[in-house]
């Protein structure tokens, strides 16, 4: 029954999201699209943090892998520049990168894992930054409008593209990502990951191959983040090496915490909130890092389960209250 209710809620939200382009101005819609791409990133990131218990400070690398796949194909293979090729390509390259990095990183846990993921993402940053001739260095790469199933968007301006076809493309991929991730975390594989998170030794004793499962989680997580990066690049129109910088990875961690990593929907809420919070802070003060940093500290000290966690606690309280009233009547 409860499970059913949840899916009904999802369906209702999806239908509402279909009408978002009519409700929001083009500026707000673009922000919302940024939020949606980061929501996919957050979902992927949370598989590692919330479900496997590994904190990566280098997930910007897979984001950059997805985004740069798009930018590089635009530059070197303009013939293949269409969404139905770009998205699988982005998934493929983030898969390759997360296999390589993941293989090195899952040998460690805790702080060592965090430092290692951070250092490796900085390796990619250094490569993207220094190999000027290939990657455009600090200028980055331009991301023109892609084609979709042979439909060309030449002559259409970016805002129109974003508020039309692309929004629905993004929304469908977002919904698919949610369903797949939901499937992953409630599958036996997902349960095994949670067992590893809760007690590594016990998980190993009941026959779970801990390191291999961690690697699988790492790879899946990297692919989701790569998909988010590729989708993001079209909204942004430009990719730079900063995407692989560890401060950007820190923002991914931040939005996941802001929403709450203990809850499946947490990162989605966090990603959308963070997008608006960052823009609001940047628009109103030159000290936006101060605002973001202070918010983060307050969050860690007072709201460790994030916004979604706080809402869940509130709902549980209300429910209990209702139940109490029911018994007294």
């Amino acid at each position: 029954m409860i499970k059913n209710q949840r899916w009904i809620a999802y369906a209702v939200i999806f239908v509402i999201l279909l009408f978002v382009p009519r409700l929001l101005s083009i500026h707000d819609l673009m922000l919302f699209e940024y939020g949606l791409t980061f929501a996919i990133v957050g979902l992927g990131f949370n598989l590692l943090l919330g479900y496997t218990g590994l904190l990566s400070f280098g997930h910007g690398a897979y984001f950059a892998a997805g985004a740069y796949t798009v930018g590089m194909i635009a530059k070197y293979l303009p013939g293949a520049y269409s969404l139905e090729i770009l998205i699988p390509a982005a998934l493929f390259f983030s898969l390759i990168l997360s296999i390589i990095f993941g293989f090195l990183c899952v040998r460690h846990t805790k702080i060592f894992f965090s430092i290692l993921t951070l250092s490796l993402s900085m390796l990619l940053f250094a490569l993207l930054f220094k190999l000027y001739h290939l990657t455009g260095g600090s200028d980055g790469l331009r991301v023109p409008l892609p084609t979709l199933l042979g439909i060309s968007f030449k002559g259409i301006r970016r805002p129109e593209f974003l508020s039309g076809t692309y929004y629905y493309f993004l929304l469908v991929l977002f919904a698919v990502s949610c369903v797949i991730m939901r499937g992953i975390v409630s599958s036996p594989f997902g349960k095994a990951l949670q067992a590893i998170r809760d007690n590594e030794v016990r998980a190993e004793l009941i026959g779970i191959r801990v390191r291999r499962y961690r690697l699988y989680a790492f790879i899946l997580s990297g692919m989701f983040v790569g998909l988010g990066g590729a989708l993001w690049s079209f909204v942004n129109g430009h990719v730079t090496a900063d995407l692989s910088h560890w401060v950007f990875s820190g923002e991914i961690v931040y939005m996941t915490l802001l929403g709450g990593f203990g809850i499946f929907e947490g990162p989605i809420i966090g990603a959308i909130l963070f997008t608006y919070l960052k823009l609001y802070a940047m628009g109103n003060t030159q000290y936006w890092m101060f605002v973001i940093g202070a918010t983060l500290i307050v969050l860690v000290l007072l709201l460790p389960n994030g916004v979604a966690g706080a809402i869940a606690v509130l709902l549980a309280k209300l429910k209990r209250k209702k139940a109490l009233e029911g018994t007294t009547c």
């Binding site: 943090l49 820190g250 500290i297 860690v300």
Partner: protein
């Protein structure tokens, strides 16, 4: 030319050693990876640059030590406040929160620096110019770089003596070896942790103060040393002083010769070497 590269390698290593030593002490004693360590380095750099600019015309001989002291002290004070207000609440929390809190502190401090010193660059090359250059095997080499090496050597010697021979140092090592046992023996963990944090912060500030006569103090100056210090810690092993020294030398020489031979891929090369070491020895060279 090779003499110069070697000396440059030693110079890079010296600065890096100070930074990673501070990071390593905090990590070892408190188990907290301080992402804001680079900001403390930046605070040291800005403070020292400001001091040099203020006093350069008045007391040209003594301002060198004054600037170093000011950078060290201010970073130490900021570290003290940080530990007392924020880090203190984090000892019992999980890794995610500890890292995120220091990440928040990093963002916050970057903008605090911007608020205090403004967005402009501070050029404070007076000590560098004052000390001039010396002839080393037929090559002209700035004395200031040699001065940095001397200061680092003295600081390293001091820390080695302090950690190995004094009672306070032995207590700190006891905490990093076995926190629970140390508590059981009646050590005041809270106060010792504050001390370790201030010490680590001061070292970062000193490194920042040392670097500033050779490069202007800019916003974000602490980012690269932080990443390099991470590499040193990963390669050398968590919480190991010997590891910090060897790691710093390795990174310093790789940088110096990398810049000379493969200028384009000097940084990736560094990561490559670190990666190879980790595949062969996952705990780092001197990790436990």
């Amino acid at each position: 030319m090779w003499v110069i590269y070697t000396l440059n390698g030693l110079y890079f290593a010296a600065l890096l050693f100070l930074t990673s030593l501070g990071l390593n002490i905090i990590l070892g004693v408190m188990g907290i990876l301080n992402l804001a360590h680079g900001s403390l380095y930046a605070i040291g750099a800005f403070m020292a640059a400001w001091t040099i600019i203020q006093v350069a015309t008045k007391a040209p001989a003594s301002f060198l030590f004054l600037s170093l002291l000011s950078g060290l002290v201010l970073a130490g004070v900021v570290g003290f406040l940080m530990e007392k207000s924020l880090i203190r609440a984090m000892y019992k929390r999980t890794l995610e929160y500890q890292l995120l809190l220091t990440f928040g502190a990093l963002l916050l401090l970057e903008d605090v620096i911007k608020m205090i010193w403004g967005g402009q660059a501070y050029y404070a090359s007076a000590p560098f110019d004052l000390l001039g250059a010396v002839d080393v095997f037929g090559n002209v080499y700035p004395i200031y770089f040699l001065f940095v090496m001397c200061i680092t050597f003295l600081a390293g010697l001091f820390i080695w003596f302090f950690m190995g021979r004094t009672k306070l140092g032995i207590m700190l090592r006891a905490i990093s070896l076995d926190r629970e046992m140390a508590t059981g023996l009646g050590l005041d963990i809270g106060r010792l942790s504050t001390f370790a944090f201030v010490l680590g912060s001061g070292l970062a500030g000193l490194a920042g103060a040392l670097v500033v006569p050779t490069t202007p103090a800019l916003l974000g100056i602490g980012m690269e040393p932080l990443i390099l210090a991470f590499i040193v810690v990963v390669v050398g092993g968590l919480g190991s002083l010997k590891g910090a020294l060897v790691g710093a030398l390795l990174v310093g020489f790789t940088r110096s010769f990398g810049i000379a031979i493969f200028p384009e891929i000097e940084l990736p090369l560094l990561f490559l070497i670190a990666g190879i070491i980790l595949v062969v020895k996952p705990q780092g060279l001197f990790g436990r």
